[in-house]
């Protein structure tokens, strides 16, 4: 192939590619009919300037009917997946809230006789059922661990929080570890942070959320 032929071929290919792409873009935009859902309707953390007024006490919950299961099924547990908590357990009053910042798993503690004055353990609502996600009232930034910075390490940490209906952290669990130093930095930052609770409708509720943190060097 001569140089002229190569140029002609390249030229034709480039023109064809452009024309095709320009037409494709118009088509693809119109085809992208799956609307990207409104971002901050269901997924939003807000840094608020001041602590919002305490939420109104939740109205008494109507007695929830016992789930009617036609056939009790034991869900199959995948290899590295913790067993999902039984919904019945969540509906039962549970013992005292766990200490913030402990790297504990989510195994329920042994049952204790309920104290008459003890508030019931909240039912943690998964994020998809919320009308408004919990928000940072005070967001403490994790500190990049010095030794990891020095040695050039980067990491990703995913943490799961159980927040009560006042936004207090009842439990914190590392779902994806980036190494001890990174995990500790995230825990420390969350311990120093404050949250406004999540809401179902107008009612603040206890919530289970996961937050990913990415540590990057620049």
């Amino acid at each position: 192939m001569t140089r002229t032929q190569r140029w002609s071929a390249a030229s034709t290919a480039a023109v064809a590619l452009n024309a095709m792409l320009f037409l494709m873009v118009a088509y693809l935009i119109s085809r992208a009919s799956v609307p990207e859902p409104p971002e901050l309707v269901s997924v939003k953390l807000l840094v608020l300037e001041a602590t919002p007024p305490p939420p109104e006490p939740p109205p008494p919950l109507p007695p929830k009917p016992k789930p009617r299961l036609v056939k009790k099924i034991e869900p199959k547990v995948l290899p590295d997946q913790p067993p999902p908590p039984d919904i019945d357990e969540l509906l039962e009053p549970l013992p005292e809230p766990k200490t913030i910042g402990l790297d504990e798993d989510m195994e329920p503690e042994p049952e204790q006789p309920p104290m008459p004055s003890q508030p019931p353990e909240p039912v943690y609502i998964p994020s998809h059922k919320l009308s408004r996600l919990p928000a940072f009232v005070r967001k403490a930034e994790p500190v990049y661990p010095e030794k990891e910075r020095f040695t050039g390490r980067e990491a990703r940490v995913v943490v799961e929080l159980l927040l009560d209906n006042e936004g207090k952290i009842n439990s914190l669990r590392i779902v994806e570890s980036g190494g001890e130093a990174f995990d500790d930095a995230v825990k420390q930052a969350l311990e120093d942070s404050m949250f406004a609770p999540g809401y179902m409708g107008q009612r603040p509720v206890a919530v289970r959320v996961q937050i990913p943190f990415v540590f990057k060097l620049r």
Binding site: S11, V43, S127, V175, R218
Partner: protein, 759 residues
């Protein structure tokens, strides 16, 4: 050997898969005896498994939810036969398409995939730290931030001139003048390797935009670990290749088409390869045969580049990198005696052509021996061949080969001291063949017409080796106070000069979010090779020198949502090279630059779609020829530069705008003319930098959108530059007898469009 074969085999497979379009599709096993749905949750458009997502059945609170594991897999038990709508949710992701499943007693297990689109500004909280902790005169910006700046055409390198302290003489060049220093006084590093080739034709970045991870810009008072220059340091980090799977990016804009392929090739080994070719010459070239009367385009300007980066993670604390990069730029035009320019400069009649070929190879080994000792060693070699012919006026053919070895050892001694020790050896070998009427430009030299000049010929070889050693201690004296001090020693064997260049700075953090900095340092730079070669130069020159003084305050506002920064600087220059009748050049120039910069920046955050900055620079820079006593304004002196950049993310689109203002640059006007014996008018130039161009300003806007499909995504952008069609003046053209002049306009209103598909 086995590893090598394995790597080679996987490389072939990787490219084979690209060419053939093969994608792996994992088998989904069915369990028996349960009503359930099993599948995988994925990040929409990324083909990345999504761990930790809650999977649930729509409208059925009585059915237990489940959570995906680290590989995105889930299994959700269903109570009975029937039809279910399954969905998933996770913080940072919007709801994707629902999965409709039907389970029956004959088929109790359904399978499927759920794709969740990330909510761009909320999918993760990014915690950053700086590799180099020095703060004086430094700015760190990411490639992502820069590439979406309006006016950049998606090119992060071009966009850095929007930061305070950097200015370009026109919209056509990307090489910045930094804080009153000439663009030739800067040093560029890419992945710790020095380079001098950042732009095609001076304004299109040579690196694929997606690879540019971040810039560390040292505008003044850089530390001793950087090569000796009078201006600033631009340290570019290219990201490592991705290791999760094969990625392909194809991009098309109105200028060029480019392809990026990356992925793992074996456990711990990964590779990224990019290639780019401009095609504006193929599209526009045939339509523009004549640029102006008597000026024909024979070859419209074109370019290509390639880059390969191979990374071997030898261990969690050790990394080996191979780097290969190359570019070529070419153009050709022909001028006839009908041209207006040729009437003034008859020597420009004929063919004018350029062909630049650049190739660079490098390797680096980074090792953290322990939590207190780490080492970085790099080797690089770059070849730059330049062929330039300007009609009858210039013929130049040069080839530069520069090899560099750089060693950097960092030692942490207790909690208070961080030592950086190292050295650098650079060997330069230049072959120069030149025949022409103008030699290297020099800011102290008045402009002259070309045709009247005497034609000279030079054929020479330049060989030089510079050896440098440096030491720095970052000493945390007490909690709020850190002292950084050190020195760079350099010896050069061509000029037989050696220098010791001390530097010191301090950083005080009186309270959380407040930083006060001050820096001082001595700097020196080898003169341009053109000034020191035999015949045309002076091999007895000395290094040019500069002292830098910098004071700054940085305050983080509103919990880090905003940053405010003010820096004041003063630089003095001495030993600058000026033309001399007998010895060609001497070190008889001096000068100074001073100014202040204000940067107010709204950081990208989870809570707000607004990102941007306001940068205001006020500076003055001048030069003095100590031979003649002549004082003039530095050619890049733009006293006031303002850049306001704002970007706002809407539901689907990100809309950005940039307004730029700069004072006009000084230029040397023609003040008269006389006729020679042929009747040609010869211009008489005024004093250097005696006039200023009018102030320039322009508004650019840009719109970006990413459309996600299940397994790929499409990014598009529209950009409009100089929206209100301001005629910014970049110079003047004169009539035949130099009695009248007309302004030459800068960037006209331009609309551009780009598409990038990522697989």
């Amino acid at each position: 050997m086995l590893v090598t074969r394995d790597v080679a085999l996987k490389t072939i497979i990787l490219f084979g898969a690209l060419v053939m379009g093969i994608t792996a599709r994992p088998e989904v096993c069915q369990a028996e005896g349960l009503y359930a749905v099993r599948g995988k949750a994925m990040v929409k458009g990324e083909r990345i498994p999504l761990g930790g997502a809650t999977v649930y059945v729509m409208g059925r609170d009585d059915i237990e939810t489940t959570t995906t594991n680290a590989t995105g897999d889930f299994e959700l038990a269903l109570p009975e036969e029937g039809e279910y709508m399954v969905s998933a949710s996770m913080v940072g992701f919007a709801e994707g398409e629902r999965l409709k499943v039907i389970v029956t007693s004959e088929k109790p297990m359904a399978t499927g995939r759920l794709y969740l689109p990330p909510v761009e500004r909320f999918s993760e909280i990014v915690v950053t730290a700086e590799k180099n902790q020095d703060q004086v005169g430094k700015r760190v910006v990411t490639g992502q931030e820069m590439r979406k700046t309006p006016g950049s055409m998606g090119d992060p390198l071009r966009a850095i001139s929007n930061l305070p302290g950097l200015s370009t003489s026109s919209g056509f060049t990307g090489f910045p003048a930094i804080r009153g220093s000439d663009p030739t006084n800067n040093i560029f590093y890419v992945d710790n390797m020095p380079t001098n080739n950042l732009f095609h034709y001076g304004f299109v970045s040579v690196f694929h935009a997606d690879l540019v991870e971040n810039f560390n810009l040292y505008l003044s008072s850089p530390g001793p670990e950087f090569k000796e220059v009078l201006g600033g340091v631009i340290d570019i980090t290219l990201r490592d290749p991705k290791t999760d799977r094969l990625h392909v990016k194809a991009s098309v804009s109105f200028l060029e088409a480019e392809l990026l392929v990356e992925g793992p090739i074996a456990e711990g080994h990964s590779l990224v390869v990019t290639g780019r070719r401009s095609y504006i010459d193929l599209l526009v070239g045939p339509l523009i045969e004549e640029l102006d009367k008597g000026v024909k385009v024979v070859q419209f300007p074109w370019y290509y580049d390639y880059l390969g980066k191979y990374v071997w993670k030898i261990s969690p604390r050790s990394k080996f990198t191979l780097f290969s990069h190359g570019t070529q730029d070419g153009m050709k035009m022909e001028m006839t005696d009908e041209s207006d320019v040729a009437k003034k400069e008859p020597d420009l009649v004929g063919d004018t052509a350029m062909d630049f070929i650049f190739n660079m190879q490098g390797m680096s080994l980074e090792t953290a021996f322990s939590k207190s000792i780490k080492n970085s060693f790099t080797l690089s070699r770059r070849d730059f061949t330049r062929n330039v012919a300007v009609a009858q006026a210039i013929f130049a053919d040069s080839k530069d080969t520069v090899s560099t070895a750089r060693e950097l050892l960092t030692i942490k001694a207790g909690a208070s001291h961080l030592f950086t020790l190292g050295g650098e050896v650079e060997n330069s070998d230049l072959n120069i063949l030149f025949e022409g009427k103008t030699w290297a430009p020099n800011e102290f030299e008045p402009q002259k017409d070309i045709t009247s000049a005497e034609k000279k010929k030079l054929e020479t070889i330049f060989k030089g080796t510079s050896t440098a050693a440096f030491m720095k201690d970052r000493w945390k004296v007490m909690d709020p106070l850190t002292l950084v001090f050190g020195a760079r020693w350099v010896a050069e064997d061509y000029l037989e000069e050696s220098y010791t260049l001390p530097r010191a700075s301090l950083e005080i953090k009186p309270s959380e979010g407040l930083l006060i900095t001050a820096g001082w340092g001595k700097y020196a730079q080898f003169p341009q090779v053109a000034y020191v070669v035999d015949v045309f130069g002076n091999p007895n020159l000395k290094f040019e020198k500069s002292d830098h003084y910098t004071i700054g305050v940085k305050k983080s506002l509103y919990g880090g949502a905003w940053d405010a920064q003010v820096e004041v600087y003063h630089k003095t220059f001495e030993n600058l090279v000026v033309p001399h009748k007998e010895t060609n050049y001497v070190n008889a120039g001096s000068g100074e630059a001073r100014g202040f910069e204000v940067l107010l920046r709204k950081n990208a955050s989870l809570e707000s779609g607004l990102f941007g900055w306001l940068a205001v620079t006020y500076s003055k820079s001048n030069r003095e020829n100590e031979l003649t006593g002549e004082t003039f304004q530095f050619s890049h002196d733009q006293p006031l530069v303002i850049n306001a950049v704002a970007s706002y993310r809407l539901t689907n689109w990100t809309i950005s705008g940039r307004w730029h203002f700069n004072s006009g640059s000084p230029f040397t006007p023609v003040v008269g003319a006389y006729q020679d014996e042929t009747g040609r008018h010869i211009p008489i130039y005024g004093e250097i930098g005696d006039e200023r161009l009018p102030d320039s300003h322009q508004l650019d806007i840009r719109a970006d959108r990413t459309i996600r499909y299940n397994n790929w995504k499409l990014s598009i952008f529209f950009e409009a530059q100089n929206l209100y069609a301001r005629d910014n003046v970049t110079g003047y053209t004169y009539n035949d007898d130099y009695t009248e002049r007309e302004p030459a306009a800068g960037v006209p209103p331009i609309a551009a469009f780009g598409v990038e598909a990522s697989f």
